[in-house]
């Protein structure tokens, strides 16, 4: 039903693929193929049934996706751009899968890799990289989201041990994690602890009735006088710098991932608009639809360029936190706008789980909030350009 032949890949109008290395392209294509085979056929159903396909974790591990940008301990050791492109493809399938991978690689594994002892790294990283074990990262609390320094979870010394009390909220992978990286106040400031599943006093409760990220697990975690040896503490992490460094890693994946969700939404809209006929012609031939598609293509291209630029900076070791804030702020904001607009192109069919845009839009509501809300990233950028912190 097409008119004149459209360009070969309308989703890459700017030909960004041409500035990737062969290796980056191959990694991206491998992730895309895996997801096309193993996730896409089922994702609508999983989202509807609030099912996380945990059995895919070892397969993702085998590919090398988990902790892929880390060196050693069974990790693949790719560059940052490759990691970003993998996140892009994962989120093009579903933000839930990208969230799983971000938490596993950038939060759980990175916290151990960056701040852990050699013993902790050897114990956990190879299993986490293989997807045999699952990790989570516990910073946010029911009453402390944007303001983690107010956290109530506390660890106090008891002889050579630590006693941990408190609770954590909105923890991706929480209910299935084999090891939790828990951040708690101590008398010396914030410290991190590795708490294995099954430690007495450590319980979890999955959060039900979500309207977003339904294909991944989000949990509340409770610590009731959990006794931990000092060897459970991440020895190199001191203060909030510990958890915040991890969040920067994860946000980097998100600013690529959002591009994926937007691309997938736009693809659905372009294909649909070409096949949907009203008033005897495809709706893609109407000016109002074309304006939507064109505007979205421009903003998708800009977001992708931004992501790639930040990826190159990260690979050169020059990226700064406020630059990551620019990326997360812009790309998630644009992605959610694209996903919603794509839903409108699909008309009534847009509310069906057979099409991805509304699922992506709903998922992106979480992405907009987690790992620093839009508002907090706005203030980070504000401070960077004015010098005035305006957070409180």
């Amino acid at each position: 039903m097409s008119g004149a032949k459209p360009m070969k890949d309308p989703l890459d109008l700017l030909d960004l693929a041409s500035v990737l290395t062969d290796e980056e392209r191959e990694i991206q294509a491998t992730v895309a193929k895996f997801l096309a085979d193993r996730v896409r056929p089922h994702i609508g159903e999983w989202f509807e049934n609030a099912h996380f396909a945990r059995e895919l974790a070892p397969e993702l591990g085998k590919l090398g996706v988990l902790g892929m940008h880390l060196e050693g301990y069974g990790c693949a050791g790719t560059n940052a751009v490759s990691y970003g492109l993998a996140c892009l493809e994962l989120e093009a399938a579903d933000s839930g899968f990208r969230s799983f991978v971000s938490v596993q690689g950038s939060l759980s594994m990175y916290s151990i890799w960056k701040w852990g002892s050699e013993e902790q790294k050897r114990e956990w990283l190879p299993r986490l990289a293989a997807g045999e074990a699952i990790g989570c990262f516990d910073l946010t609390e029911p009453d402390f989201g944007s303001n983690p320094s107010g956290m109530r979870t506390r660890a106090v010394r008891d002889g050579g041990d630590w006693i941990l009390n408190g609770s954590k909220m909105w923890i991706t992978n929480g209910g299935i994690a084999d090891v939790a990286t828990v951040w708690a106040q101590t008398e010396d400031g914030v410290r991190g602890f590795l708490v294995p599943r099954g430690t007495p006093g450590f319980t979890t409760q999955d959060i039900k009735q979500k309207m977003s990220l339904r294909a991944s697990i989000t949990s509340e975690l409770y610590f009731d006088s959990v006794r931990l040896p000092d060897s459970a503490r991440l020895p190199l992490a001191e203060g909030l710098r510990g958890p915040l460094s991890c969040l920067n890693e994860a946000r980097f994946g998100i600013l690529f991932g959002a591009v994926g969700a937007a691309r997938d939404s736009l693809q659905a809209a372009i294909e649909y608009a070409d096949s949907r006929v009203q008033f005897d012609k495809p709706i893609s031939a109407f000016q109002l639809t074309q304006k939507k598609l064109a505007d979205m293509t421009v903003s998708l291209g800009s977001a992708a360029l931004l992501a790639l630029h930040l990826g190159r900076l990260k690979d050169q070791g020059r990226i700064r936190p406020e630059q990551i804030s620019v990326g997360k702020l812009n790309n998630v904001r644009e992605a959610i706008a694209i996903a919603r607009e794509c839903r409108s192109v699909l008309g009534a069919n847009g509310i069906s789980l057979e099409y991805s845009p509304l699922r992506h839009a709903n998922n992106l509501e979480s992405v907009l909030t987690y790992e620093g809300t839009n508002e907090m990233h706005t203030l980070v950028v504000g401070q960077a350009i004015t010098g005035y912190p305006a957070f409180r």
Binding site: K8, D22, E23, E26, I27, T30, K33, F34, K62, L63, G64, V65, M68, A76, G77, T78, S82
Partner: protein, 260 residues
């Protein structure tokens, strides 16, 4: 054990395929090229054997510069080395020439125990190349295998054809072609992708493979396309209302369309 896998890069089957107006060969410039899916299964079979036996896997592909991507993919899956036959003179090569060139490339490997190929490629469907390569190399052709066992110097396979199945048995060295049912190919791992760049790929041309042949005497094709007519765009089709004869008329239509 020395295993050679023959692979080919083909246009993505999901994409539209066009013939060039100039010489009626497949227009590859316009197409997304991918490693042929059945070839990928041949590679998987080789790599599975490599896991259980001490084997070196060489992947051979004939095609333009872009065929290197197909070779690299198999290297990323775990093959050890590649041979890329790249020569502009091979543009438009027919089935016989393709087989002769592939056989010559296999000969350069030396002491080959097993040659693996896909039973067909999605672009040509001639399905004859593996059998010809076997004939040229004097190897038993164990083709269209949906199941394969290599053990104690012999190969056994379940051959699938339209008239039923057959069990084949042959001594090594042998050539095996596999069907799409034989296995599920692995995904290359990221470590594999990164390691593939360091694996050796020899690029050879006709001069390397046939040093004695003179240029003018080398036949690239023994057939000529006189005319290629694209199928007319989908028009409003035939519509009938069943009066009891629709089943029969439908069969006649399918026969006329050469579909049954």
């Amino acid at each position: 054990m020395n295993i050679v896998v023959l692979v080919k890069q083909v246009p993505d089957t999901a994409a539209e395929r066009t013939l060039s107006e100039a010489d009626h060969t497949l227009d590859r410039a316009d197409a997304d090229l991918v490693l042929d899916e059945i070839n990928e299964r041949a590679a998987e079979e080789a790599l599975t054997l490599k896991e259980t036996a001490d084997a070196e896997v060489t992947v051979v592909s004939m095609g333009p510069d872009s065929a290197l991507d197909a070779i690299r993919k198999v290297l990323a899956m775990g093959a050890d080395r590649g041979i890329h036959i790249c020569d502009d003179r091979l543009h438009g090569a027919d089935v016989v020439t393709t087989a002769k060139v592939l056989a010559a490339a296999v000969r350069t490997v030396g002491d080959v125990d097993l040659v693996l190929a896909g039973n067909a490629t999605t672009d040509g469907q001639a399905s004859a190349v593996p059998a010809i390569v076997a004939d040229l190399l004097g190897l038993p052709q164990v083709t269209h295998a949906r199941k394969l066992t290599v053990d104690a110097g012999r190969v056994r396979a379940e051959r699938e054809a339209e008239n039923g199945e057959a069990t084949l048995d042959a001594p090594l060295p042998a050539l095996v072609s596999v069907t799409e049912k034989i296995n599920e190919p692995r995904y290359p791992s990221f470590k594999g992708i990164m390691a593939a760049k360091k694996k050796p790929v020899a690029t050879v041309d006709l001069g390397d493979l046939f040093p004695a042949a003179d240029d003018a005497g080398f036949l690239v094709t023994r057939t000529r396309v006189v005319e290629a007519v694209p199928r007319p765009a989908r028009a409003a089709g035939i519509r009938i209302t069943d009066d009891g004869s629709a089943g029969r008329r439908l069969v006649e239509y399918l026969i006329a369309q050469k579909l049954v």
